[in-house]
């Protein structure tokens, strides 16, 4: 039962990303060519709404469901891992048109060849785990 809420949030997430067309390879391509405001509008309004919600959370000292202060985990400080790792992800995102949320959602829309992208992404994740200590962070 305690997992039902996460499953429900997932359903909602899948619906929103399909209906917003953010799962489309074409929309990502268009975004990186700066030929449409659509994706910037989605990410921009998501971030602005998110900032407002999280600031309100802080101001009102809202508690999460477990009764402790609601907060977002902090990312470690750093530069290289974010700029290099981010760029590597960006190359793959633009090529496959799928980031790690949409790649699952696309399977639901009947695009089964995306499973190959997911398998390759799992292998990429695994290889990061193997090479982690040799990479600059």
């Amino acid at each position: 039962m305690k997992y039902l809420k996460f499953f429900t949030i997932g359903i909602f997430f899948g619906i929103v990303l399909v209906k917003s067309e953010a799962v489309s390879w074409y929309r990502i391509y268009e975004m990186f060519r700066f030929e449409s405001f659509h994706m910037y509008g989605i990410i921009g309004t998501a971030v602005v709404t998110g900032i407002i919600l999280l600031l309100l959370t802080k101001q009102l000292k809202l508690k999460n469901i477990e009764g402790s202060q609601m907060r977002v985990p902090l990312k470690e400080k750093g530069f290289l891992r974010y700029i290099i790792g981010g760029s590597i992800f960006g190359l793959g995102w633009a090529l496959s048109g799928a980031c790690p949320g949409p790649m699952y959602i696309l399977v639901g829309t009947g695009e089964f060849s995306v499973l190959i992208v997911i398998l390759a992404a799992l292998f990429g994740t695994y290889m990061y785990g193997v090479l982690k200590d040799k990479l600059p962070h």
Partner: protein, 185 residues
């Protein structure tokens, strides 16, 4: 119903995504999709050989449930809440894709020139999917997050590392589309 069947405008979708992030934080978790790739590696036993995956993946089961829900959500949205896909792309984008050999741009979610089984079984097609997926998996773990973890959650909580990562996303994306694409296609 008509409004739901039409594509949703960005100013509706964006705030809804923020609410998803907020709900997950309220439930004591966070919004991060690429972590699931790490969790699945760990669940598959990768922790035996690689310390990075040596953690109790069951603690992240909730996120796998988000993924399962997302697959079902994609199914519902595509087959019951949509009219035939017709993405209103910029005519310049369509023209550009046409020149690269992509016909009928926007008539499906993914281009058949890359994702149809015919393409998948060509050398170029399979390499694109394998490279694309590999870079996504490797890059998101290296950067410790993807669009949901950095662009939405990280920027919403005003974290500098996430801003650096998002700049990286765009550096990579722009290089791919403007410099590498014309070579591949």
């Amino acid at each position: 119903m008509e409004i739901i069947l039409q594509p949703w405008p960005w100013y509706v979708s964006g705030p809804l995504i923020a609410i998803i992030m907020f709900l997950l934080v309220y439930f004591g978790k966070t919004f991060g999709m690429s972590s699931n790739l790490k969790t699945i590696c760990a669940a598959g036993g990768a922790g035996k050989n690689v310390p990075f995956f040596d953690f109790d993946w069951r603690e992240h089961k909730w996120n796998l449930l988000v993924v399962l829900g997302a697959v079902l959500g994609g199914f519902i949205a595509h087959f019951f809440l949509s009219e035939p896909t017709n993405i209103e792309l910029n005519p310049d984008t369509i023209e550009n894709l046409n020149q690269l050999g992509f016909k009928n741009a926007g008539k499906s979610l993914l281009p058949p020139e890359i994702y149809s089984w015919n393409s998948v079984f060509s050398i170029q097609g399979i390499l694109i999917l394998l490279f694309g997926g590999f870079l996504v998996g490797f890059g998101t773990r290296y950067a410790n997050g993807c669009t949901s973890g950095h662009a939405i959650t990280g920027l919403s909580s005003l974290q500098l590392p996430s801003l650096i990562a998002v700049i990286g996303f765009f550096v990579g994306g722009l290089v791919m589309i403007h410099l590498i694409f014309p070579i591949i296609f």
